[in-house]
């Protein structure tokens, strides 16, 4: 094996993808079909969008547990607007509401973390519950249906053979890749995760950048919310529960270090793809739902362990 592969932090996910791809091609007659691939892509879209934001945050030494709740809250606010506005309302305003709510929630997280110095895990654990509670309150605890058709069509359907929402996820990933690798913002994220005190002493405004990172995570959660709402044609107050955990899992499977300062978006996408293929395969093979959970957990563990580079003592 060449040294690139040995160094590659997401090789566990790569191996997993290849192994499952071959195995499922043999054992399932429907796995190798365009329809099934589209199915997998659709299923991982929201996870990829959210995990992109989480990748940025974990690299910068942070974390955001509230993304699933932000996703639901944005959906509820947008749906409430569409249902109350005459004639179904304007798509643009609907999107804007989602963006503002998501960005607002993210900046709120950032404010608490950067200015009140609350550890991000604790701060977003709190807001996870607050935002979820708000989603339940503003929806009356029920799913909101009858949304603007044009809004739904914007995020669903196809561009050529590829689902629109998957294209969106790829664009977002490319954007974050560029942001992390080529821009000052990305560089500061790596530096912050590596040594916050050093960044502070260098005269860089740590608070501003933290606000920016959490705001971005909230914004991406809002976009995830738009996609999910459109896919199921309803805004659910309990949508996105446990999405933060899925996102963290694929980020780590992708070789991003929980300690901060190290990571990449490409790995996150491979992590999400592996998780998507495994879920899809277990369904195709008709594995008992109770066993699925167990099996997925094992795959996550194996992918992470085989991707970790052992340190020489």
């Amino acid at each position: 094996m060449n040294s690139w592969f040995k160094q590659c932090s997401y090789r566990g996910s790569l191996i997993g993808i290849v192994v499952f791809f071959i195995a499922l091609s043999i054992f399932s007659p429907v796995f190798l079909s365009m329809n099934n691939f589209i199915n997998i892509f659709n299923q991982i879209t929201v996870n990829v969008i959210i995990a992109a934001g989480i990748t940025l945050l974990i690299i910068s030494g942070g974390i955001d547990l509230s993304v699933g709740s932000i996703l639901a809250l944005c959906g509820i606010f947008t749906a409430n607007y569409f249902r109350s506005a005459p004639g179904g309302g304007s798509v643009l305003i609907g999107i804007l509401i989602g963006v503002v709510v998501g960005l607002g929630c993210g900046l709120f997280n950032g404010l608490i973390i950067a200015y009140l110095h609350i550890p991000p895990f604790i701060a977003t654990l709190g807001t996870m519950s607050i935002f979820r509670g708000m989603a339940l309150v503003f929806s009356g605890g029920r799913p909101l249906m009858d949304l603007n058709e044009r809004y739904i069509n914007l995020f669903t359907g196809f561009i050529g053979p590829i689902p629109k929402q998957f294209v969106l996820a790829i664009i977002i990933s490319l954007f974050l890749y560029f942001l992390l690798e080529r821009t000052r913002i990305g560089r500061v994220a790596f530096a912050l995760g590596g040594n916050e005190r050093c960044v502070m002493i260098s005269g860089i405004s740590v608070k501003t950048f933290k606000l920016l990172f959490y705001g971005m995570s909230g914004l991406l959660a809002a976009i995830g919310g738009m996609v999910l709402t459109s896919m199921i044609a309803a805004a659910e107050p309990i949508a996105g529960i446990n999405y933060e955990m899925d996102a963290i899992a694929v980020v780590v499977m992708g070789g991003t270090s929980m300690e901060g300062g190290k990571g990449n978006i490409l790995g996150t996408i491979f992590g999400a793809l592996l998780l998507g293929i495994v879920r899809n395969g277990l369904n195709l093979l008709g594995v008992d739902a109770n066993y699925q959970q167990l099996f997925i957990g094992l795959i996550i563990m194996i992918a992470i362990i085989s991707g970790s580079t052992k340190k020489d003592a």
Binding site: R182, T183, R184, I185, R187, V188, F190, A191, G194, N195, R197, C198, V199, M200, I201, S202, G203, I204, S205, G261, K262
Partner: protein
Amino acid sequence: MSDAFIQINNLSKRFGGIQALDHVSLTIRKGKVLGLMGENGAGKSTLMRILCGIQTCSQGEIIVEDKRADINCPEDAQDLGIGMIPQELLLVNCMSVAENMFLGYEILDRFGAVDAKAMDLRTQEVLAELGCEGIAPSDCLGTISKANQQMVAIGRRIIQGGKLFIMDEPTSALTVHETEKLFGVIRSLCNKGQSVVFISHRLEEVLELCDYFAILRDGVLVDVFDNGDGISKQDLIKPMIGSVLDEEYPHEQADLGEVILSCEGLSYKKDNEEIVDDITFSLQAGEVVGFSGLVGMGKSELAQTIYGLRPMLNGAIKVHGEKLKGHDVIESSKRGMGFVSEDRRSEGLILGLKCLYNMTLTCLRKLSIGTVIDRKKELAVGMKYVTPMNMKREYLSLPANNLSGGNQQKVVIARQLASDAEIIIFDEPTKGIDVLAKSEVAKIINSLSKQNKGILIFSSEPREVLGLCDTVYVLNLEGLQGPYRRGELDYQSLMGIQFGEHHE
């Protein structure tokens, strides 16, 4: 019976392609202090780590008290009475002195519970033996001085029945007075027949303390000789670097320009909550101003206050005659100040990040269009500083963690140069780096002053301040003393002022 405690025969160690130790044979004598000398990377630490069982050797044998010893793990070394007191003390700050002394070796009573009383008693004995007054077994470790923490670390080894004490840079955090005390303790250990290996970059100290020297260069033992009257610093430096160092602190006077920084009536709180006040001084372009003083007088704290890392209780800081608008790091760096921290690893560098990225951290804005970094420009910045600082090009793409202390310090300094800082504050600029790197850092500081930068140096090494600075201030118990011009003070009189004597 021979006087050898340990006889090392033909010891070799390879790390991948690097020969860290090459057939080293050395005798560690009973009741003597060995000064183990060498530059960073010469193999000192590797040799000591093998003795302590932290690493194993590739080849060779170790004979302890005339018996061949297999040291495969730290416990083996422990059983033989070999113990290391590392540079970064491995103690628990939130536990008491006694708890630290017995950590992992607690005395148990007949019910199997920790016998705190017995531990306190034994701790008291050991502290008395070490001449540590003023600390009690129940004191919280974090509240006692660095010097006393060092004593606790030594006491810990005594309790565990140590016969060989390996001390890696034990004096780097100590004052002159505390160092003297430590030397007393080391001598009394030797008088009881125990052996000490002493590693330090401070040549004056090793000449004072050690009975004999072993000098390593690139993994080879190049010289072993006894200390004596005729032995000078050059006798140590020459075998260490393989040549004669012309001058430890080269100095060339730069032309002084206008006043770029002035502090008026500054006051601040030290770490121990005492207030230091009425700090007034100014710095001209091209001038190197040094601040000397014993540990605990608030040197580092002053450096931090000037840069905005620590609140200013009173007074004013002016850059180019204009008062700073706020008092924080962002304002200071905007106004052209740069800070080289005393603690490279935890404050100066992002260890996991490439050296190039470490260098360009503060000047990224200049290298970017919007937020997009121009990578060609960035690399050019790195290349600009590599050659004059005597570093290799390949370092740029290595994580900072992989470099030696001296090269790491150059990376931190390069960051200040790249950011066009006009006023550069150095807190202990040569702490823990080897002789050659020290002289290189000194040269860089000198060349900076010739580029019309203003330099502030905060150092606890009197020779460094005397050698590098145009103007010297001393912080002692009475406050800030000075200014003293270059040549006005010598080592003796500077030490005198540090201890509160008045200079006439």
